[in-house]
């Protein structure tokens, strides 16, 4: 198993996530696309860890930290979306243009 297909698949997953962030209108769907991006970074870390056969397992430990931070981010993000929904009666991010000039 070589490293190139893994890295290219992770890059493809990253660009799929970028597409989702730009296209989706519902705020929860944007958070789902952010999860895709974080997942592609995890794949890269674990693949490099296996390629270098690192003694200190830096790649795996970093991906565990990324998973933890992603869980915290989802909690805060959904709380913010819930707050916006309570105040504006919608989760559509086109409606949230208060800070747009």
């Amino acid at each position: 198993m070589s490293i190139q297909p893994l890295l290219i698949a992770a890059a493809a997953l990253f660009s799929i996530g970028i597409y989702g962030i730009l296209v989706r209108r519902n705020a929860v769907m944007v958070l789902l696309s952010i999860e895709l991006i974080l997942n592609s970074v995890n794949i890269n870390f674990v693949a490099f860890n296996a390629m270098l056969s690192d003694v200190f397992l830096n790649g795996q430990i970093f991906s565990i930290f990324i998973i933890t931070i992603a869980a915290a981010e989802v909690g805060i993000g959904l709380a913010i979306v819930l707050m916006l929904f309570r105040n504006r009666e919608t989760a559509n991010i086109n409606e949230f243009d208060l800070m747009k000039w």
Binding site: P5, L7, L13, S15, I43, I61, T68, A70
Partner: protein
């Protein structure tokens, strides 16, 4: 080509197809279910890359907790559960496709220039060793991450709770 190569190419194809479905499907619940597929395929890929503990953490934290949180978020924000044409910004689609394809092109060019087809070695990782490194070499980031989780807990409760004394609905 060995059997494990064919299996991993199949896994990568499945990963990308379910990832595309996450961003293109017009049903909110289906998007969450396809994210489960994507994450499960990633976990199998991690097992192939001899990162068993990370694969189990991915299944426990993402598929166990994050997806449930997403489904709750979808249902609380009363997103229409059936197919929904209003889910996408149609005028952004072309621009988004151009941007994401150009990012993919740049990444692929750089990766193909930088890495030759080095074979990934997978000989298995000892979870005991992972725990020892996590609690010796990485003990400061480990403790820091627990503070991040505490902050997320307090922030989530503070944001999501209803407090009429602090928050005037008319001003926001």
């Amino acid at each position: 080509m060995e059997a494990i190569d064919i299996f991993s190419y199949f896994l990568l194809l499945l990963l990308l197809l379910s990832g595309v479905k996450v961003v293109t499907t017009s049903n909110v619940i289906h998007a969450a279910i396809f994210l489960v597929f994507t994450l499960a395929t990633t976990a199998v890929l991690f097992i192939l890359l001899s990162a068993e503990f990370v694969a189990l953490v991915l299944i426990l934290v993402y598929i166990g907790a994050v997806i449930v949180l997403f489904l709750f978020g979808v249902m609380i924000t009363r997103a229409p559960l059936g197919p929904n044409a209003e889910l996408d910004n149609d005028q952004n689609k072309l621009m988004a496709a151009v941007i994401s394809l150009s990012i993919f092109g740049i990444f692929t060019y750089i990766l193909l220039q930088t890495f030759d087809s080095t074979v990934v070695i997978s000989e298995g990782t000892s979870t005991k060793l992972l725990g020892e490194i996590l609690l010796s070499r990485f003990v400061f980031p480990f403790e820091l991450v627990s503070f991040v989780l505490l902050g997320a807990l307090i922030g989530g409760i503070t944001l999501a709770r209803k407090d009429n004394a602090l928050m005037d609905e008319d001003q926001i």
